[in-house]
Amino acid sequence: MFDRILDPTGLSVRPAGVASGARRLPSLAGARVGLLDNTKQNAALLLAEIGELMTSRYGAVVTIRRTKEMFALPVDEPLLSEMKTACDVVVVGVGDCGSCSASAVADGITFEREGVPAAVICSDAFAVTARAMAEVHGDADFDFLMTPHPVAVLNPEQVAVRAGELLDVVVARVSEEGR
């Protein structure tokens, strides 16, 4: 009856995406790990702690650490190229705000499509927006990892505890180990 009411979204002309996951590494021994932090408070520290644990317990090597210049926006082409050349798996985080949680998921999907297994860590307060971003980028079931909110106010000891809690799921996300 109301088909003459115009759609204000423009969504009827939106193209659909295609889901595409990278192949998991059989083992992390000798694997090159990239860490991509987004400037959010404690993000770099949490990723560094996870990187150290991946090194000490699984024999991986952290080969590249980078910080996104614009936490709200997905990773740009030069940084993507640099990272995919320098590492075999990537850990991205921490999605701890309205826009950066969504963009972290977009980054993870991009790395996966480029053949690099990606573990994306988001605060659990942003699960809905992270999932919505996965849908927008054509991979509705993209498997991001969650840690309890908040992250920003943790002290260094608490960050280290979080890293320990996340280690196994990060490893299982990017490799066949621990699955």
């Binding site: 009411i5 115009l6 204000p8 979204t9 926006l73 705000c97 826009s99 969504a102």
Partner: protein, 349 residues
């Protein structure tokens, strides 16, 4: 009613409910947009309907003139308001944060639109009593149109891509006209590069607004000191510097002007004095500043010193507007999400 067809108002109810079911409203009823009504809006501009006027690539969304028109119809605008909506949107797209993640921010920022020029009277924009609304169709619906474009056109829907923790009172409702008739100074649009007397819209995103009520002193320096206190509130300091504006009521503006102060003089006075001591900042855990300019709690920080609030003495950091009635000395400090672009957009004649 003889000779007129009887129309069933329940058809309107059903149409309004249909739009709700599609998820296209901001919570209030909308005017269902028909092709005919939308074409009346498009006829007010020389711009083609398919011109892209905004985009969020990371959300894979874009806004055309046509989508802006549909959402303006829905907001309750009249067709002749549409060039003002387009100018407001153009000005908004010049803001650094609107093309990034600003709309998704937990701070839930809200645009303040400021209308200058003869268009204010021609279309009935309120510039005097109760300027922050509600009660005036032009002010209310132009502001709302912007909100509907963000929601529907850019796809930034609350609880999904819009992640405001609490949001900002007055979001999508702040469109004020400057009270140029009772302002002692040049209009804001002149600071934005548009000649006085030309229709223009200026805008920036706000985190909130808060009043300064001073009907107590005739001393301009004491009056400005009252503004400096509100401006310097520590709760709003999250980075090295912060931006804020003042919407002066005519009475305050005229008192300052009568003391010989230009708008630039007022700004300079405030920029020189606003800020907090390191000791104040240490008390609230914001005394450190990272390389990226973000404040943090620094245990071994200096107890001495003063952190100025404003990064620079410019309209981009501290825009000044005059609006409201000349019936009391109460003005509004507006808290900027970032800095104003410093560029006003002309309204197409």
């Amino acid at each position: 009613m003889t000779g007129q067809a009887t129309e069933d108002p329940r058809v309107a109810e059903r149409a309004i409910e249909y739009v709700y079911r599609q998820g296209w409203t901001d919570g209030l009823p909308t005017v269902p947009a028909t092709r005919e009504r939308t074409d009346e809006f498009l006829a007010t501009t020389s711009r083609p309907a398919d011109e892209v006027i905004g985009r969020l690539d990371h959300l894979k969304r874009e806004v055309t003139v046509e989508l802006a028109a549909i959402n303006s119809v829905m907001a309750g605008c009249l067709p002749e308001y549409f060039p003002v909506v387009l100018a407001a949107w153009d000005a908004l797209m010049l803001e650094r944060s609107t093309m990034g993640g600003g709309w998704q921010s937990t701070s839930g920022p809200a645009p303040l639109l400021v209308v200058n020029g003869p268009v204010r009277r021609r279309l009935g924009f309120n510039s005097t009593g109760g300027v922050f609304g509600p009660g005036f169709r032009a002010n209310a619906t132009v502001a709302r149109a912007i909100g509907l474009i963000v929601r529907n056109g850019l796809g930034v829907v609350p609880h999904v891509f819009e992640q405001a923790t609490q949001g900002v009172p007055g979001r999508w409702a702040m469109c004020i006209a400057e009270n140029e008739e009772e302002s002692p100074w040049e209009p804001l649009s002149v600071d934005g590069g548009v000649t006085a007397g030309v229709d223009a819209v200026s805008t920036t995103l706000l985190r909130t607004s808060e009043y300064v009520d001073n009907r107590h002193t005739g001393d301009p320096e004491k009056l400005l000191a009252d503004f400096a206190d509100t401006l310097s509130r520590s709760g709003s300091l999250i980075f090295r510097n912060a931006g804020a504006g003042v919407v002066f009521c005519p009475e305050h503006a005229q008192m300052l002007a009568n003391a010989g102060m230009s708008k630039d003089d007022v700004r300079t006075w405030l920029v020189e004095r606003c800020g907090r001591t390191k000791a104040d900042l240490a008390r609230v855990g914001k005394n450190g500043i990272t390389e990226n300019g973000v404040r943090y709690e620094r245990g071994d920080g200096d107890a001495e010193g003063f952190d100025p609030m404003f990064a620079a003495d410019s309209p981009q950091n501290l825009p000044i507007v005059v609006a409201g009635a000349r019936n009391a000395g109460m003005s509004m400090v507006v808290r900027l999400f970032s800095n104003w672009s410093g560029v006003s957009a002309r309204v197409e004649p």
